[in-house]
Symmetry: C2
């Protein structure tokens, strides 16, 4: 049995959590638990969906794999000592500690990313540096047992990389085929260096509004 | 307000629903509702997660956009007259009727895909034909107001295509940038013509086991 914990909270970005879940849950022998400060439904950042946390932090110790998704609701976690202590303890014994999108900011706030190469959503790279990590502009960044992924959808790529480490390339490739992950986006605007500057500015300003509200 | 309904049920594949949700919920003015036969938490196909259906079928009429995800738990829906009647009524007034993965089988069972070009997960193309649709081996297939997507992760590509139709290319491109959808899978095994035959056979046989259990 491979114990995988995904930390959720009100205001999470659903795909940050569900991308890795969909890949990692298909590894033979995997057991995925959705964990939160308190068990119960957590609403996504849009408010349109509740995801159930089946277990509370206090009742889940020593996961082998830890996944920390992002979303504007995670800012309060960055100075929540119960959450930060739990993350540090989980990281102490984990085989892999991972994040998606702004989940990296919470890992950084706990000190886990101090001096580590890491990534996050492209609009938050400066914040990641302020928190003591060494930001790297790649989609999936590995430093020791820490794997961080860029924005939202990148958690799928991170989890396939991780599945290969955990269970071998053949298993990871079978999972990729099973979820038919042969991406074919209708546009090529998924990264800031590929998108029109106008759209980059638009996202930056809406993220910066979200920061103000959260801080 | 643009009313979007995503049909969920016990045994769904989470990413089938969450890929489109993450894209469509970001369209300005979108209101996404997760709907099920009965409101309440629905467990995913792995059993590891509950997603909340906030509203029952009987309480949601005339969505503008309908999304039907797949997952082995959807087979009972294929002869559930309440579900099939609701789908036919919703399709009657929808602007767009869509499916992801084996969600197409449920649409087909309702008669909505009769004689229509459509797609589904690659391992179920024969079943889609048996149900009266004209299977097309593309990632996203459009026939009139019906958009069907291939397996699991293809719902993201379908939803970006749909976002462009609903709100224009600029909005769709901004959403793609916001979710940093610049995919970079570690392997190139996401489609049956790209994967080793051994893996194709493995997935086919496990899906065919799932069919036997479900039928």
């Amino acid at each position: 049995m491979m114990r995988i914990a995904i930390l959720i909270f009100d205001g999470l970005t659903a795909l940050d959590a569900i991308g890795p879940y969909e890949v990692l849950s298909r590894i033979p022998g995997a057991e995925v638990r959705f964990v939160a400060k308190e068990a119960g439904p957590k609403r996504t950042d849009t408010g349109f969906l509740g995801l159930e946390a089946d277990v509370a932090l206090a009742d889940l110790a020593e996961p082998e794999v830890l996944v920390v998704p992002g979303g504007k609701g995670n800012r309060p976690l960055m100075d929540d000592s119960e959450v930060l202590d739990w993350l540090r303890a989980a990281h102490e014994s984990s085989t892999w500690t991972t994040s998606v999108c702004t989940g990296a900011l919470v890992l950084a706030a706990s000190g886990i990313l101090a001096g580590k190469r890491a990534t996050t959503h492209w609009a938050y790279m400066d914040r990641l540096m302020e928190l003591g990590a060494e930001p790297v502009g790649e989609r999936v960044v590995e430093d020791g047992k820490i794997l961080t992924a860029a924005g939202v959808s990148s958690g799928i790529d991170m989890a396939l990389t991780l599945a290969a480490r955990l269970a071998g390339e053949r298993v990871a490739q079978a999972i990729q085929l099973g979820i038919e992950y042969d991406p074919d986006p209708p546009f090529d605007t998924g990264a800031p260096h590929k998108a029109p500057q106008e759209l980059v500015d638009l996202i930056r300003s809406s993220e910066s509004e979200a920061r103000k509200t959260a801080q």
